[in-house]
Structure formats: structure tokens, C-alpha cells
Symmetry: C2
Subunit: 440 residues, 2 copies
């Protein structure tokens, strides 16, 4: 039976997912990010030290373990994101890595949420991060959205819009307003889309000790949005001054302007973006697909200056993460993606008689040697049934071995066209070689 | 800190692993196996019903779960192989699949073994299986070793030798000898390499009620090995008769002879092979790398006629699984694999001044558009330091933007050769485009 929160795709969906992952991976590699994986588990203290989300952890215990084994500091939990394990990996292997270190990581993560919430408890993330020892140049913050824009624009999905903000802008602004519990304000503003401005204002007053005027100013800041540097003037008009605010604005301008230079329309400054995770210290990203804004962010991340450190060593980083399962779940749910076939197979070699299997296997081997995915028919059924085998899977070509010295022939079962062919040289059109994924 | 049994690779090793997985995947797809993934968890009863290994399970419980949540039939455990989840998936989705169903599955599995045993508790497996409704033609048993031979022969690793046996041979033989607890005999023979023939004979006498002569005959059978059908005569000489034995011998001959036809030297009949898992009913496979026999099997599987069933529906299958982590762990441990660089990057664009970053990013974009993995230097350090950045990562080319209208140039930092180049057309030699994995 299906288990709530643990999605499983059907074969055609899984082919789409694999294609999407391949495209994301090849883009990441084009930008020089090295592949990396970390183990699925971390010691519980590592997981618990990183804020809110970290409480939604699955703990492991061995079925045959001793009773006292399943407790204490050596308890293991499944990771809930890929950033915390990566930070741990960097600190642990710092002596063997070369910095700045660029890596991508495409792995499952798990969140032990209550099943009834209908959210994923197991899902695939595709992350890129750059970390450096001591200091990380800011231009990496401007690079992240460009990589993501490139990765997603190659897919048959709606255009992505990356919303960027900078925590220094918010914290500086709140501080400049005279508020001290800036983290509480940020957490409250993060609920804007869920509970609306009136309740956010109320809660800022209640939980962060703000006046109504201060709360209103926080909402004014959150309302600012622009695809160019014009947001700076809009913030300045609110009349708040603070050096951290200035620093944040300058950084945010650089992200927005670099994106305008290289990928117009991809990135917008959106000053309500806060991000739930505690470890971000500057730039933050969220991403929506146009027309699918109501489904929330499919790709988020940010700058973390203090996540990875050990003694006097500090490894600031910036990263972004595509929520692959989440994005595909939404698109599958809206029937927004399809694929030309549910198998990799391009050619089915028909089997005239079971005794000819060796000859048919040789034809298949010859086609495969030239990169053409090929199967031999499961049984020497009537040719009509063998063609049906291909048709039900979307396999475009059926190969007929020639009888009595006649040449072989190959039939495009979509058009019905059949031509003589030699397994040592025949080539399908490039677009038929692999399954093709299309948008709605 | 490292956690015993949860291996993590360094970046260069991870590049090798990724290359190995890509090669395995593309071979599986060439044979028409469709990609599939199943969730990482199964209900505990599903895991526990499948024999010995299944007792080594990691159970999950939510850190914030209610106390009574972590028990009973709805308890979830991490899967310990990919065959049991696949069988469950087939039964669950039978109405939406087309049979025979060929799929590959490359995923992590977990075994909750005691940490001190020094064995992997998390590792990657790459499986192929074919299942059909009601009956599965035997020729699929002959196909499995050929696919694996093809996948592994494309890798820079020692040649694989696939050892094949058939449970019907063993069971039929033991039965023909007059022994009734054939499973117990099989489990004991499985320990041959660990405890040696004398103790196996003792244990067959002790635990399966055999006479010394019967035990000796079981050992005689286990000693038979051949790369062609000659093993049949060797078995016949032992003078045991049984219809199941005949059936098994006929099947085993087909596997060995088909492999001799298509891939001489790849497959041998090895009548001591038993396999620990209970669900195999016919053909069984194990695989050793030549020169690495002492490290055990890197790829195993077999025929399972009764694993997947639901009511009157029955889905017999045959499959084989490459133990990717196990194989790489052995080869890494023997320094038997290396890679030409630890990053995907082929070209580093040098940065003359920070103000030229936009221009350098454009050069990089131009190279990437033609599939050349490219990074821009992290800072406008002295060129010597930028070349060092490339050198430390094994990046073969450094690109120098031309100053004052001069053309750009590109330097092969291995040879020192530097030539004028245009980012819109320059192409590296094909062998430099991606990292190259080599054997020892």
C-alpha cells in the first residue's frame, strides 16, 4: 500500500524525473560543480543544532539492537536537508579539499512530519554550494541564480522567477526602526503569504514588542518588489537608517543587476522573502514557476557565513537547492509533463522463431554497440502481438530479421513505413533515440 | 566524525563513482531496462517476511512522534535490498504496468548490522530485474549475465567472472540423495568458503540428518565447476537421479552456453554457489573480479518465482544486483582506480581585474553553450595563482581574455602550450572534455 508522504512514480514519470535530474546535473557540471554525496545519517546533535526544521527528524534504531543503543549522543537520524551534512563534511575533510570548493549534491532527504499533513516525508533535492575558508567573495551569491536559471530553462516547464532578498536588509531595517528581537520579526514576516498582513502586524506587536507604527513599517518593507535596483529608492523612502541595511542593499543590488546583465527577467528583489531556516546570514533565494505561484517555492537557498566552523576555522558558504520531488509532484499533479515512451528502448527486434533468438540477440548487440537502446521480443508470438508489445510501451521501431538471405527491415510503427536496413549501419533520427519529455 | 559502516567518498572518488554509475545506467538503458525508484522505507512486516537478511533492519521513528507511534504493523524500516521493494511495487501497481516489465534501480540500501563488524551499513546497489505475470520465459535468466558483462567491461576494472548455479540442481541432488531438509543443506554449503569442507560436512551431518556418505556427496557436487556444459557429466558421475535435478541442469546449461556464444570467458557454472537469501528458486549468480576473488562477490542475484504474488496473481522474476559501494570500496582500498581531475571543469577563465568579471562570465557562458565545463577564477589574483587554482584541481586549460582588442588565448597548463582562441569556436580534444577514469 502507498505510505503517506513517501511518493513513488510510475515508470513514465520516473523517466521524466531521470531526464530532469540529468539536465540539472549536466548544467551543474558545466559550471564546474563537482559531484558529492554524504551519508544519509547524521548524529542527532548535528541535526538538532540547526534550527526549526531540524526537529522534524527520523531517528534510526536497529531492530536487533540492544535496548540502551537507541538513545544518547550517538543516536543517528536521517538528514533533513543537504546543507547541514555538507557543512559537516567540509569541516571534517577540510584538509583534503581545495577551496573555494564547489559541489553539487543530488540526494533524498527525509522529514519526520506528521503523516496527516499530506507533505512529503521523503523527497529528492538537487543542491549546489560554494564554500571557502575564512571569506567567500560575494560574486558567488550572484552566480547561484544564473546556474539555476540555466538548469531550469533547459526543461519543458514554466519559466522560473527567482525572488531574492538579503537578511541584512531586514535585520538592519528592523534594528534601524528600534526593534531588538529581529529574528522574531523575520520569522513572523515569513508567514505573510500564509496569514496575511493584518495578522502579521498583530503578531509583530505581540511577540516582538513593536509599536503599531513599527509593525506597519516592517510590512511596508515586505511589500517592496522590483526587477531592478529601483527597490533601493523605495526602501530609502521609508526613512530608516542603519549600516547593516546599507550593506544588505548594496549586496542585493549586485545580485539583481548581475542577473539583469546575464539573464533578463529571471531574478527579482522581493523584500518579503525570509526563509525558515535559521542559518542564513545574507542573501536568500526562493523560486516560483510562472503560473504555479500558488504552489510555493521549488528552489531556495541563501548565504550562510557561520554554518560550518570548527575552532578557529570558518567556512562561509552560499547555496541553492532545487526541490526536485516537490517541483515534479506539482507538475505531475497538473498533467504538465509528458514523455514520448515509458521505456528507454528505441528498437524491438521481432523474433520469428524461438530458435532464431541467438541471431536476434546478435542484431540487438549490433544496434546497442552504436548506442541504440534495443530489446528482443519476449516470445516468438505472432508479429501482430510483437508489434503490440512495442506499441504499448511507445517503442517507435520494430526490426524484422530477413528470412532466407533476404535483408532485414525496420518498421516505424507510428507511420507504418518499413524499409530495408542493416543492423551494422542503420541509425534512427536523433529525436527518436531517447524518450522525449514535453510540457503540457 | 566518520560513522562506522556509512562510507563517504572524497571528491575524486565520488567523480569515479559517478562515472561508474553513468556507465552502468547507460548499459542498462541500452538493453531497454526502464529507470525506477521505490521509496526508501517499507512496512516492517514486508521486510520481515523475506528471510535471514531481513532481520538486519533499521527502524524509523519520528523524534517528535507519540510514544505509541513507534510500534506495531505500521512501523517503517529502511529497505535492505531493492528486490523486496520492487516485488511489492509490482504487486501494488500491476494494473498500471506492462508485462514483461524490465526495470533498473540504482539506490542506497541499509543494513542495521552491528557496527563493530566493519561492514557497510549504507551502500549503493544497481539492480536489473525482469518480471512477468504468471510465467517468465527462461531466456531472461541467460540475459542477466550478458548485461552485467557489458556494463562492467566498459569500466577500467579487472575482468568480471560470473559464477552461476541453479537451486534446482542442489535441491534435486540433495533430494535424490535422500535428504529432506534441503534448505538446511543449502545454507550450510553456502558457508563453504568461510569454514571449509570438513566443517561443512560435519554440520550437514549434525543439522540436516545426513550420513557421512551423503554429506560427502553434497561436497562432491559443490566442487564441480566448468566454463561449458561439461559439468553435466561431472554431476551424472555422482550417480544421483531426480527430475528437479534434471530440470536444473538443463537450465544451467542454457545460461552457460548462451554466455559462451555471446561473451566467452564471462560465465562459469560453479555448483557451490548458494546465495544467502531465501527467495531464490532457480538460477543464482555471484560475481568476482579477477585478482580480487578474496574480496567476495560484487554482483549477485537470481530467479525468484514466488517473491511477488497477491491472491491468485503471481509475478515470477529474475534479477541481478551490482554492489557498487562494495566494488568501489575494494578497488579504492587497493588504489586500483584513479581520475584525471577532481572537478568536472575543463577550462578556467582567468580574471585580469575584478571589473572584467562580466566579460569573463560571457566567455564562460559561450564555452558552456557548447558543452565545455567552465569556471571563472574566484579572484583577480596574480595569474600564477590562478594557474595554481587550475593545477591543484587538475583543470587542463586556462583561458586568458585578450587585453585591448587582442585576441583571447588558451593555455594547456600540462604542456605549457598557449594558442590564440575564440570562445565561440574553440574546442578541447574530446579526451579532455570530461574527467577520465583509469585503472591501476
Amino acid at each position: 500500500m502507498p505510505i503517506s508522504g513517501f511518493p513513488e512514480w510510475l515508470p513514465a514519470q520516473r523517466i521524466i524525473e531521470q531526464r530532469v535530474i540529468d539536465r540539472i546535473r549536466s548544467t551543474f557540471e558545466l559550471y564546474g560543480f563537482a559531484p558529492l554525496e554524504t551519508r544519509s545519517v547524521e548524529p542527532l546533535p548535528t541535526l538538532l543544532s540547526k534550527g526549526e526544521t531540524s526537529k522534524e527528524v527520523y531517528l534510526l534504531h536497529r531492530l536487533q539492537g540492544a535496548p540502551d543503543e537507541a538513545s544518547g549522543d550517538d543516536q543517528l537520524g536521517l538528514h533533513f536537508d543537504l546543507t547541514v551534512p555538507f557543512a559537516r563534511y567540509v569541516v571534517e575533510n577540510a584538509g583534503k579539499l581545495v577551496f573555494p570548493f564547489r559541489r553539487y549534491q543530488i540526494q533524498k532527504v527525509w522529514r519526520g512530519e506528521r503523516p496527516q499533513e499530506g507533505r512529503y516525508r521523503e523527497f529528492l533535492q538537487a543542491d549546489i554550494d560554494v564554500v571557502n575558508r575564512d571569506n567567500l567573495p560575494f560574486h558567488y551569491d550572484t552566480e547561484m541564480p544564473l546556474v539555476i536559471g540555466d538548469a531550469l530553462s533547459g526543461l519543458p516547464i514554466p519559466a522560473a522567477r527567482i525572488q531574492v532578498n538579503n537578511r541584512k536588509v531586514c535585520e538592519g531595517f528592523y534594528r534601524g526602526l528600534g526593534l531588538t528581537d529581529t529574528e522574531q520579526v523575520l520569522r513572523t514576516v515569513d508567514k505573510l503569504d500564509k496569514i496575511g498582513p493584518a495578522r502579521v502586524a498583530e503578531q509583530i506587536v505581540e511577540t516582538a514588542g513593536a509599536s503599531e507604527a513599527q509593525a506597519a513599517a516592517c510590512l511596508d518593507l515586505a511589500a517592496i518588489s522590483a526587477e531592478d535596483a529601483s527597490f533601493v529608492d523605495a526602501v530609502r523612502k521609508l526613512g530608516v537608517e542603519d549600516p547593516l541595511l546599507d550593506e544588505g542593499l548594496e549586496e542585493l543590488v549586485r545580485v539583481v543587476e548581475t542577473a539583469r546583465e546575464h539573464a533578463p527577467g529571471l531574478v527579482a528583489a522581493e523584500l518579503k522573502i525570509a526563509r525558515g531556516l535559521d542559518y542564513y546570514t545574507g542573501t536568500v533565494y526562493e523560486t516560483q514557476l510562472r503560473g504555479y505561484e500558488r504552489f510555493g517555492s521549488v528552489c531556495s537557498g541563501g548565504r550562510y557565513d557561520n554554518l560550518a566552523s570548527s575552532g578557529k576555522d570558518r567556512f562561509p558558504g552560499v547555496g541553492i537547492s532545487i526541490g526536485v520531488s516537490r517541483m515534479l509532484g506539482v507538475l505531475f499533479g497538473q498533467q504538465a509533463l509528458s514523455v514520448s515512451r515509458s521505456v528507454p528502448t528505441c528498437v524491438l527486434v521481432a523474433l520469428p522463431h524461438e530458435e532464431q533468438r541467438v541471431a536476434c540477440d546478435r542484431i540487438a548487440a549490433s544496434l546497442r554497440r552504436r548506442g541504440i537502446p534495443t530489446e528482443v521480443a519476449p516470445t516468438a508470438a505472432k508479429f501482430g502481438k510483437q508489434i503490440q508489445y512495442a506499441d504499448r510501451r511507445g517503442i517507435p521501431y520494430v526490426w524484422f530479421p530477413g528470412a532466407d538471405g533476404e535483408p532485414d527491415s525496420v518498421k516505424d510503427i507510428r507511420s507504418g513505413d518499413q524499409v530495408s536496413a542493416d543492423a551494422a549501419s542503420w541509425q534512427p533520427p536523433a529525436e527518436d533515440l531517447h524518450p522525449v519529455v514535453s510540457g503540457a
